[in-house]
């Protein structure tokens, strides 16, 4: 923790709530986010001492100044006339390896030293945040005794495809809780879970640097903390792509899921099925930005991948899985309906997960070679759900999750190096 942050902790003495905003060059949006956060704290928790901390990665666009200048007009914004307790607004650059993980670490250290009962983190590029988000992320902890609050959003059917096709079904199948947005980015965390996170040793690894969101969720689930989710409405970002490409994003997220599988292998192998978790917040429909997709190009990417990545896929996939992928490629080249069945996709992900533990090729290469298969899955999903409405799409995702759960014994056997018997379709 930087010296100025330590001095601020000593000056403030203590706080009940800490809200962290990690940032890097988010000068355009962070002022609004900080305003919404401090308004939320003032409106919903006026009786509690609160601190808002911006943990910045060395922005050069005035991000820190934007945070310090953030303010809200109490009467007009909150419709309140009673005096409100002042919220401390702080901004410090974090130290250590660049990444969201290091930013979170500083926020958690401050929350811990201030003795906070609850801590929340929100992204700094949000355009749709409202003061209610703070209430929805913190109240289940302060009032309900929960340890971890995950977000739940309304998203376009083609939005969040890594979440829908890999991260949500895998997390649900492995740890038995239906956390709909395990890598949402906004979380509420209890003081005792913050302490647990800080005791972990993964902060210097790639997981903490790149896969911090899935790491937070997985630790909470696998270590038996009380987990719930809050419905926040729509999540709109600032229109700015991250510096990385799709395959490196996939590598970071999926690599983190697979690494955590190894860390918690005793836990997930003992879990059967899944159960819903408590969901807070009033569910309402919102208009969503359309998500453009180009199915023909996606199928083309898969076909090229099948043609050129044979030498790697044959090392990673079992014979049966590879045969299924070959059939899919043949069907694509003959112009048939492009459909990647759920069970084939599940087995593909399982094969990659098991190969990741004893990789026949470098791990980065292995994970990046998943990209054309993932794109094939997205293309198949888009074709299948083209005329479906939101609820029907959610039902479709539910079917995929059940396929993951149904095939879990297959994963466990493959993981242990035992012969794999195909699971009968339900």
């Amino acid at each position: 923790m930087p010296a100025e942050a330590q001095r601020a902790v000593e000056t403030i003495g203590g706080a009940d709530l800490v809200v962290g905003i990690p940032s890097f060059n988010n000068g355009r949006t962070i002022g609004r986010v900080a305003t919404a956060v401090s308004a939320g704290l003032a409106k919903y928790f006026p009786q509690l001492r609160a601190v808002v901390v911006n943990s910045d990665g060395g922005s050069g666009d005035g991000t820190q100044q934007a945070v310090m200048q953030a303010h809200h007009e109490d009467a007009s914004l909150l419709l309140l006339e009673t005096p409100l307790s002042a919220t401390h607004l702080l901004s410090f650059p974090y130290h250590g390896v660049p990444g969201k993980g290091s930013a979170f670490r500083m926020i958690f250290e401050m929350a811990h030293r201030l003795g906070a009962k609850a801590c929340a983190v929100v992204d700094s590029d949000l355009r749709s945040i409202t003061p209610e988000w703070i209430d929805l992320l913190i109240r289940p902890i302060v009032v309900g005794g929960y340890d971890f609050v995950a977000p739940s959003y309304q998203r376009h059917k083609y939005d969040g495809t890594i979440t829908n096709s890999i991260v949500y079904p895998m997390t649900r199948m492995l740890y038995g809780h239906r956390v709909r947005q395990p890598i949402g980015g906004e979380f509420g965390i209890s003081g005792r879970l913050v302490e647990r996170y800080l005791r972990h040793t993964e902060w210097e690894t790639d997981i903490a640097r790149f896969g911090i969101d899935i790491w937070l969720t997985t630790v909470a689930l696998a270590e038996g903390y009380r987990v719930c989710q809050s419905y926040l409405g729509a999540k709109l970002h600032d229109a700015k792509d991250p510096a990385s490409d799709l395959s490196s994003m996939l590598e970071q997220v999926v690599g983190s899921v697979f690494t955590l599988m190894r860390d918690y292998e005793d836990r997930w192998q003992a879990i059967e099925g899944s159960r819903p978790i408590e969901t807070f917040g009033f569910r309402f429909d919102v208009g969503l930005d359309p998500v453009p997709v180009n199915v023909a190009r996606m199928i083309g990417v898969f076909e090229r991948g099948f043609r050129d990545l044979e030498e790697i896929w044959k090392l990673v996939l079992r014979q049966e899985t590879y045969a299924g992928i070959r059939t899919l490629a043949e069907s694509a080249s003959s112009g048939g309906v492009f459909h990647l069945p759920d069970d084939l996709w599940v087995r593909t992900v399982f094969d990659f997960a098991c190969a990741f533990q004893q990789p026949p090729v470098a791990r980065g290469v292995l994970l990046r070679s998943l990209t054309p298969l993932y794109i094939a899955r997205v293309a198949s999903f888009v074709v299948e759900t083209e005329y479906m409405v939101a609820d029907e799409v959610e039902q479709r995702i539910e079917l995929l999750c059940r396929a993951f759960e149904r095939n879990k014994p297959l994963l466990a056997a493959q993981w242990r190096g035992e012969p794999v018997k195909e699971v009968a379709h339900a």
Binding site: G160, I162, L246, M249, V253, V291, D308, I312
Partner: protein, 234 residues
């Protein structure tokens, strides 16, 4: 005359006897040494196959891709590597020891040459194995990257990368062994020069086509294909 013939015959017999008493013990000793070393090598190989596991080396061989170079299925194991290595080493040592039993200048030259060459041979072999490993590592990385970036002919790109790296390792290994270093170096320079020239021609021809397209269809932007952003993936 008979006396003269007898003397010649006796002389031949003496020379044969002399040669036999000089060479035969050495030959016999060499045969015994080679046979013994062969038996020891067989026993050592059988023993190593039974007791040596080398799981960490196996892991390295698999991850580095060396296992897949030695065997297409990737089932090449460290046990085999170590056992066969020990077998060959004992056999070679036995053969050289057997040669030394002849106590001749030629045998000494062969042994000396081999002993002096041995370290260089080992280093050269390691350089080539390292080169093959690096070619697999970078070749596969390039292959996956090229596929994900949608570049044309990814397999060809990866193959070129592999050939270049292996060729560089051969040049270095040849230099290490003082084996026709100038020939290899010249071949290397010609190859690299040719590659650069080819790339320049390819770039030039592509650029001219691009210029042509630009001037012919100035003002016409290519139709952009609607794509979802990276954020939408998460």
């Amino acid at each position: 005359m008979p006396n003269g013939f007898g003397q010649i015959f006796q002389g031949v017999l003496d020379r044969l006897h002399n040669q036999a008493t000089t060479v035969l013990p050495g030959l016999l000793a060499a045969a015994i040494i080679v046979l013994t070393s062969f038996l020891i090598a067989l026993a050592a190989r059988a023993l190593l196959y039974r007791i040596f596991k080398g799981l960490a080396i196996d892991r390295f061989l698999r991850r580095s891709g060396v296992a897949y170079i030695m065997d297409k299925q990737g089932s090449f194991r460290a046990t085999r590597l170590v056992a066969e290595g020990a077998y060959a080493a004992i056999l070679i040592t036995g053969f050289l020891t057997g040669l030394s039993a002849f106590n001749s200048q030629l045998a000494d030259h062969i042994i000396q040459g081999f002993v002096l060459l041995m370290p260089k041979l080992v280093v050269a072999a390691l350089i080539i194995v390292g080169g093959v490993w690096a070619s697999q590592y970078f070749g596969r990385g390039l292959l996956v990257w090229a596929v994900n970036e949608g570049l044309p002919a990814p397999r060809r790109l990866a193959a070129i990368c592999r050939v270049m790296i292996v060729f560089i390792s051969i040049v270095v290994a040849a230099d290490q062994m003082d084996f026709a270093p100038r020939v290899f170096l010249a071949a290397f320079i010609i190859l690299i020069g040719g590659f650069v020239l080819l790339s320049a021609i390819a770039l030039g021809s592509t650029a001219s086509a691009e210029f042509k397209r630009f001037f012919q269809g100035a003002g016409h932007e290519p139709e952009r294909i609607a794509e979802k952003s990276l954020w939408n993936q998460l």
